[in-house]
Amino acid sequence: MPALTDGTARTANGRAIGDEMIAFILMTALLAIVPMTGIYPFFVMQGLCFALLACAFNLLLGYGGLLSFGHAMFLGTSGYVSAHALKVWGLPPELGIVAGVVAAAVLSVVTGVVAIRRQGIYFAMITLALAQLLYFIYLQTPFTHGEDGIQGVPQGKMFGVLDLSHPDTLYYVVLGGFLFGFLVIYRAINSPFGEVLKSIRENEQRAISLGYKTDQYKLLAYILSGTLAGFAGSLKVLVAQNASLTDVHWTMSGEIVLMTLVGGLGTVFGPVVGAFAIIAMQQYLAGFGQWVTVIQGAIFVVCVLTFRRGVVGEIAHYFKRSL
């Protein structure tokens, strides 16, 4: 099976780390000055949540070669749990986030054990079906309020001091959360664990014959990815102040795949670029109604047929750099 992603840029590892450091500092600086510019902060915060989600998804597909078509279930589950914890139980935001992340972690263990038993497209179909199962459960259980969703979630004070109803404070908390998640993923990719994961992506049989228990590595990657996707979902509740069924529906899972594909599979910064590109597109093309779906579909087709490295992947390939 040919490789899913392009490995040429990864030759000189020392320079690669250097390039990624510069890109990371550049990204952090750009994101940090957003509140001082005139950019609508809500849009950037939403973008950050989806960027973290796409990065978590990319850990699984780009580095582990596992296409999960149900990643929205983590976003939605942690969103519902966090929203419920904040609104009904009245927990402070930090504990609300913890509750959501724990829920996503548990869900990823349970679904991971089931899904990891099959590979390739079957894995994709199983994750999709599991997500749809959860969709129907959330549609019927009372605590999610069905079609209405959980509205008007209070933001509260984080650690008792950070007033999240203040836009700038909220922005830096979300940015902090994003950077934390991003660095966890970056660390995982550049660890021995990440190297084994990549070897499984390239050739699972070879990894098995080298003595690695590949199923355990894949499951661990799945759990890490699902948990971090859940973290993104909890942050999103603080930003949007609601949790609804759209976050669990399979079209959301498709959007996550699209973000990663556009940005660049198996690149560190690709999912971030892709997430902001898709969010911006939805924001500015909202007036076109259903044509947005058509445009998204067309982007899928174009990416798969001609542009498989994605934006960041193409740039990295052109300059023979690692990004």
């Binding site: 597909l61 099959r118 390739g120 259903q290 058509v294």
Partner: protein
Amino acid sequence: MQALSAQLLVGLINGSFYALLSLGLAVIFGMLNIINFAHGAVYMMGAFCAYFLLNVFGIGYWPALIVAPVLVGIFGMVMERTMLKWLTGLDHLYGLLLTFGLALIIQGVFQNYFGSSGLPYAIPDELQGGINLGFMFLPVYRGWVIVCSLVVCIATWYLIERTRLGAYLRAATENPTLVRAFGINVPRMITLTYGLGVGLAALAGVLSAPINQVRPLMGADLIIVVFAVVVIGGMGSIMGSIITGFALGIIEGLTKYFYPEASNSVVFVLMVLVLLVKPTGLTGRAT
């Protein structure tokens, strides 16, 4: 008793659609190694095609049963020639992503022109009314759908498993290079197979048009259930997908009678249970 047999009937009809759709998926998967995510979209196109044939050209149900699958099948073959062909040899996940994109495009275009509400399609005169079976009332059209889909499924099975053409097809799945060396045009066979699979989905669409209304998203949610059916069945054999399709339809119908809350999710729960016991699916080969 009345209610139970009514739900069983609904289950059998849903099973007919599951079987026809998963059969098409299996045929396509066998030759192209692609899970056709656009399968729900072409099912919907089949229904719309029948609707247009009737309302624009005045072509009724019976001709539409042939014409719509052929038209949609040709559309599918164009899709294969222009796009899917270029994915040969790549990771099969790209096929899934490409067909997902195609599904979004097709559904989006139809939603733009027809909104999300359903268009009615009348049951043909010959199949109006019903028969009283004593223990239940059987609407003729519903009986026809079940019989028709069974016949088509078995015919497809016969074509692939028992004829010379089917033997070429199965051989080309195992070793395309060798089959080409015997002078058989494998790329053309792949295109025709994709057309056949898409045509089967379109036929299911025409059959469903008088029962379920003609809607742009009629295939979108159905396809995920069909994926679960495929995972349960394992897609190892053509017969396997037919039997699993019907069986799951019936199980769904029974659930609707005994515990309606779970009727949407029972197929997915079954999928989890089957995967825990037998990861390859009921009829699946180990991969």
